[in-house]
Symmetry: C2
Subunit: 304 residues, 2 copies
């Protein structure tokens, strides 16, 4: 696929994913209206909708019953968004801006931002529970849905993304560089877990075999690491103009990265190796994975 | 049952509930150990374990397959505990002490307390997902479990407890007394929702009919209101010694309560009326509800 055609398609898919995600946010009157507004502010806050797009694409490799995957697309994006809201809070990264917009607590205050984050994490699971109840008479949906619920909750929690946040926070508090093992742990949890979840849940809900779902777990692990190392490289070689954020922040913060541990060249080789492995394993599914493979390349070769 | 015998039994049941709840907290090495420690600190922080006790008691009215209800007992207590951790944070109530112990953020710092709260909410759902996966071959468990998952997530979220927190926060920010309707909304969500959930989930998982589960929802609503109004009364008439906390705080904070709206006498009548209605409806289940009825009286007639 030509790059231009790919980018057009990606934009289309991101827009569609966003519509689907936002359709799961309740519209309410009354005292809860304010917290739904705060939740919606961040949920509608743009971005490429990478996680729901990955989920929908992996689902459609195996099934065309589109609507089966919609609630899980909403759930993963709600969990991603809650983690950003809490991450931006003063007690965490204390960020005022995200994707060029004021962060949640700047707009709604710290207490409401806390509750909006809690609300999104909770709503993710309400959405899953609702989907399971609505299709309770369909044994295939229930059986797959329960497994998907398990993956979602595990990859979001202390054995997944949240565990990575904690490890990252503890590493920074130590104020000494961390080793490769620690760095891998942080990235595998903080970044990879929420990329593994959509790939695994998408294929699982579509009807993939347990082996294929495990294969997606490995693919997501590599994609996450490659994505993160690329991020570290761009913090050194990128331009602030392209990235839309200051560069050199890792060095300034004396933060251990793949680049500081191994240098630019080896980091670049690692990205390529991980990305190649991910695409290679994806092609072994013998499905029409062209778009996903190109999306992997795009994410790991980006210069912004 | 004699009061003394009842209190002995309650203590026994609370201790057993605590054991069950704590058995669902993973013991881990590695970077997540610290967040599990922080989660465990608050989860082991005492209290009467009212919610898991209510859940186990309502379950056992209908079934003796004890272990069916254990994961849900853990889940409801994790959700209750997460809400306390986040509630105590500086951006919310800014409390240093809870039940005579330092609050989570005082011991572990604000960032870790935030993540420990998130971790408990997430772990509640991991626990439910795990239970559903382990008994995926039992259609009765799956069918009831999915409904219980729905009730749990709804009563914890913006249509339940969290919605009550938000309404309470907005009411306080207005700095003017709120009316009865607003007050009822706050209590019905902030207090009743997490009492309805254990009563409903307990009976549902035990095999009650949908009508009986709805009956438990009404019972929990009344129990929560009665409990809360009793709390408001004690803030006026109680002794600091008995309560273990300062009295008169509602008046000092110009907080609207049932007492400030209607006076002590009418508030007392309301408690009795709600409590009687709850026990009356409970007795209509035609089960051995003696302990639960006495627990309701105990909670709404307490003087501490």
């Amino acid at each position: 696929m030509e790059k231009e055609e790919f980018l057009r398609l990606l934009k289309e898919k991101s827009t569609r994913a966003e519509q689907i995600v936002l359709s799961y946010l309740p519209e309410k009157e009354g005292p809860q209206a304010k917290v739904y507004e705060a939740m919606g502010y961040s949920l509608a806050g743009g971005g490429k909708r990478l996680r729901p797009v990955l989920m929908r694409e992996s689902f459609s490799l195996f099934s065309d019953r589109e609507e089966w995957i919609h609630p899980f697309m909403a759930a993963i994006e709600m969990i991603h968004t809650y983690s950003l809201i809490h991450d931006d809070l003063p007690e965490m990264d204390n960020d005022d801006l995200r994707r060029g917009r004021a962060t949640n607590h700047i707009v709604y205050g710290q207490a409401m931002a806390l509750l909006a984050g809690d609300g999104l994490l909770n709503l993710a699971f309400e959405t899953v529970a609702d989907a399971l109840q609505k299709r309770a008479d369909d044994p295939a949906y229930v059986s797959r849905g329960i497994k998907a619920f398990g993956i979602l909750s595990q990859k979001a929690g202390c054995e997944g993304m949240l565990g990575g946040q904690v490890a990252d926070m503890l590493a920074e508090a130590k104020q000494e560089p961390c080793g490769e093992e620690e760095l891998l742990f942080i990235h595998a949890h903080k970044t990879s877990a929420l990329l593994q979840a959509p790939l695994m849940i998408g294929t699982l809900m579509g009807g993939a075999t347990p082996e294929q779902v495990l294969s997606m777990e490995r693919i997501g692990y590599r994609l996450g690491l490659a994505f993160q190392i690329r991020d570290d490289i761009l913090d050194v070689t990128g331009s602030e103009e392209m990235l839309g954020k200051p560069i050199g922040s890792d060095e300034k913060n004396a933060k251990s990265t793949y680049v500081s541990l191994y240098g630019l060249q080896k980091a670049g080789e690692k990205v390529k190796q991980l990305s190649d492995l991910a695409r290679e394993e994806l092609s072994k599914l013998s499905k029409d994975t062209a778009f996903l493979e190109q999306l992997f390349s795009y994410l790991t070769e980006r210069d912004y």
